[in-house]
Symmetry: D2
Subunit: 342 residues, 4 copies
């Protein structure tokens, strides 16, 4: 049993962490902080958790986070980098669900995120928490950079192709669609129901912050710099990421076998049978990534379809998966929920 | 550990039973039958369950249902009444999620359901499986008539008022809204996405099959015949029932205290604080019924708001709650899922 | 041809006015003001209008509204009451789509709207712009209080019953459901897609600003004070109001004939055949109100179903209908759009 | 004024034709046929059209289609090819909204559509009704093959690039998303609200019938055979197509200028300013195609975003545009509706 704290728990990754952790057999939620809602019952904000959690939001200053074994940052970008250092010095592990430690090149990070990095010295140490790639490093980590939602779905989809060295990595294309919860629980006009329902649009085509993160991950796998066109879209659903990935095949291999073999021992990656089309709802509320691989008309373009729940495998679920690894629990403990369908 | 079978598992109550039972610690799913899909992997139809269940649909004739301790009927109306008798004789308990055993007056049933009843002698024996009213009878039952989705939300909402005898029961009004999954997984034009999305309508105002069921339940509570206007509506969401109930108050009591006291020991009924408005999403995927009670402008009309997930507390979850009671398991075993929000 | 101005055109009633007026054969849109967006092309904010309108938002101070024959206020509550007086003195007519002039009792208005009224002397003069009740007064009006969305659907639904004096007006019940656009184009958490999609809830049960407006309207029709329980709900669709109305019948009449006769000459009220259930989508984008009247099981409760598009008959369309009447144009000119279905 | 008939008017293209034609100043709708609904008022099926149309569905055999100047086929594939010949001989023009005459290579057509072609001799004569490419031919045509919904959005998006010869046409990629109305008004499980709401999926990746149609169109433009990967997706909205198109740039040109110039005189194609992301709702209910062109990070991949309303520019609206051209009416007559937003 470990004690955990959540910093900044009023957003969607926060409530999702609470949903998962409140049912995790090895976790005691010690504190959840929110400057704006300090003193309020968590269940007043998130009625869904009545009966599952009995905790008030607390002011960060008075939260006794130092009694915790692990702190999750479910904050906006730029917060964890200010507090991680002190926590680590106190022997407390940290998982940042925001982007502060995801990009190794600090200059690149500062360009995309528009701020100076407060603890560049920790960036090198931080482990990028995609267990399917970095499982062993995660086990030994003190500080985890939990991957973004788009990067998780895209990297898991491209991974076997790039590891096998069978596609042209100069012109990868990732056409990705996200549910609206990916934009967070901030009051903004463009994510209002009356704006984003019954509507579909691309956004960020000139450049999106997840582009450098994906590019870094795929380049690491490839062992060289890759080229990627990344187009995110907003689709009128609450949860779900659907990545449609395109690459030019350079070498003939059995794609289905390649994917099945690569992920044979992965508890959270499911390769669907030949000819399948994964649906986002088939992973709703679960930590799964389901993937299908196609080669239309037997041409030289491979099409990979990869779906996740952006709040689970794309955020809170993956964070708990990392936690399990860091503390020696079974990797799937507390995150084996069956998807909710319909 | 008990062995259970599911007859007719290709609809939404079927997949929801599978989701819940596959994670229930005391249940082994022995067989799931479907004439039309016999031989097909369950996960081919319901991809969401890949990794959670490993079973094929079987032909009812070859399903060895006689090896089961309990059979759930997740069939259309009119099937369970033909098979229950033989199962009961073989010592197997039965929970019917359809309507075959819900109405005690067989003539009334035949009028509303448009068929002759195949085993009227079992109707008297069947226990109406609303644990909040019939808990003790459920424990001893061989045959459960699992309540309808609308009737569950409406009866739990009106119950304290009628038991207390403080409202005019001659003109109760139940204005109820359901998600589209309530119409089942049948291919029909009016429940197509392009027909029922971005749309709202009432239906069945002249008469709906849940009217006699609710009327019977409330009359039993009242100890006399009650009068009810019941208007169901279709609302563009997948899951959820929202009942808005109106009654004229005859006697002044503390309504909030009345509700809190009545449900103080009920694990699945949650009375919200004064002034609340329950949302259907606050119970999504859970077996909870959340209720708020209002007396607008301190007038003589009480307004009760009652929400459930129609597939859980309104169907499969309540069936498992009944199963737990029948077999002496803790009542909440395997149905304590936290709601999925957002 | 008249010149019109729109004050505050960045919300949904603003863009809907633009959609309708840009296609109206007798209207020249002279100016549309917005303090925050002054100088921006209207089509930059509302891409849908590219090719239909060529206008910039202008600062109210520089908008030459005095060149207009008519000003529409599509502003938040509390703006029109500050500016109407000067405009009227300059001979310019005014239609306020907000609530400033809807409630005749200024004290009551101030209680519900939480501010002092800036021009109480105009309240008496203002004509409540529901043409089906006040057509002749509208024709002669200088200042129109355009009805709220809920009040339009509810009053048109109850009107024939109350005029005929055949229902108990002490305990009318209006259970009303609105699409999310009714909440406006303000950035707020509870109307985010991820909050209000796949969800249903009541709100404002203790009291909603449209309650006194409806009560005033129905009391005027009844010639005495009526009693009303009004429960609004938020439903996950963009446009549409569905009012489900309940009243106790005191006298036996042919309800269908009553409704058909009352609205026989109304171009925008459509009484559906016996047994119908109007859908909100059947009026989407149109100025129609469709109504069905039921008497379930031939009991003593009448159920009326009334649907409108909250942005058209519930706001901008009704405003243009009033404009047509005020300026002697055919009442239906420019607002005969066929509904968009599916 | 011309007399038109509609064969098969009970689907979404049928009701959309009715919506548009009932408001068209030069059209008299003479007959609308439906074998299954013969004798029923059109407005009984499509309540939205009450007050806008007064017509019954008629049996094809008794419909006096020979009194018409033009027949629209809004039928499933395989009907128009059986009846077009006799109509043309009688001097009646024909617009087929289905696929019977779209593919010039009859063998190819028969492979994709799984039936023998009943009038291959007409295939050569039929004009592919994309006015932006074939305007002059459309004017003189007797028989129009109205383009598919996906093909319209994709071809208009790629057209300027291919005409200009500046992209690699061997590996074009079209990642396209459609609203659910594109699947038609057929009762099918996968398009039920509870299946396709809050969900996103690709389908038809191994091959979709619109692939050969798009390939033929783009090859004709290119003057040589092109290579295309086409991935359609189902997105939870009613109307709308969003095509995201990718091509490798071979020659440096001002892409924005290229697009603006190509479509400068096209009334229904709107090139958005640099940096824009068109939304499907910005064309809802209108005959417009809005396009934005991007070159992310100034690399060698061009990304084109192209949106249409699948039922208007992708079906009924384009059919009326073709009708206008065939009969010498102004091209935009009756199809200048402003989009419905929100």
């Amino acid at each position: 049993m470990i004690n955990v704290g959540i910093v900044g728990g009023t957003g969607y990754t926060g409530v999702e962490l609470l949903r998962i952790l409140s049912q995790h057999p090895e976790v005691n939620i010690q504190a959840i902080t929110s400057r704006s809602e300090a003193g309020m019952d968590v269940t007043q904000l998130f009625t869904s958790l009545r009966g599952h959690i009995d905790l008030k939001f607390s002011d960060p200053a008075e939260s006794k986070l130092d009694k915790c074994d692990l702190i999750f940052f479910a904050t906006p970008n730029g917060i964890a980098m200010q507090q991680a250092s002190a926590l680590l010095r106190a022997g407390i592990k940290v998982i940042d669900l925001a982007a502060d430690f995801r990009i190794k090149n600090v200059t690149e990070w500062e360009k995309w995120y528009g701020m100076s990095h407060a603890s560049p010295e920790l960036v090198a140490e931080a482990v990028y928490g995609l267990p399917e790639i970095n499982r062993d490093k995660v086990k030994d980590a003190r500080l985890i950079a939990n991957p973004g939602c788009y990067p998780t779905a895209v990297q898991l989809g491209f991974l076997p192709l790039i590891e096998a060295g069978i596609v042209d990595t100069d012109r990868l294309i990732a056409d990705v669609k996200s549910g609206v919860s990916g934009a967070g629980r901030k009051a903004e006009v463009h994510t209002l129901f009356a704006e984003s329902s019954d509507n579909f649009k691309a956004y960020g085509v000139p450049g999106h912050r997840h582009l450098p993160e994906i590019r870094q991950g795929l380049s690491t796998i490839a062992g060289k710099s890759i080229g990627l066109t990344f187009v995110p879209h907003l689709t009128p659903m609450i949860r779900g990421i659907h990545a449609t990935l395109y690459a030019k095949i350079l070498k003939d291999v059995d794609l289905q076998a390649l994917y099945e073999k690569r992920y044979a021992n992965e508890p959270f990656v499911d390769i669907l049978p030949v000819g399948s089309h994964p649906e986002t709802r088939s992973v709703r509320g679960s930590n799964l990534c389901r993937i299908a691989v196609h080669r239309p008309q037997n041409g030289d373009i491979v099409v990979v379809l990869s779906v996740t729940d952006n709040l689970v495998k794309g955020a809170a679920g993956q964070a708990v998966q990392n936690m399990n690894l860091m503390f020696g629990f079974p990797e799937t403990l507390g995150i084996r929920h069956a998807p909710l369908l319909p």
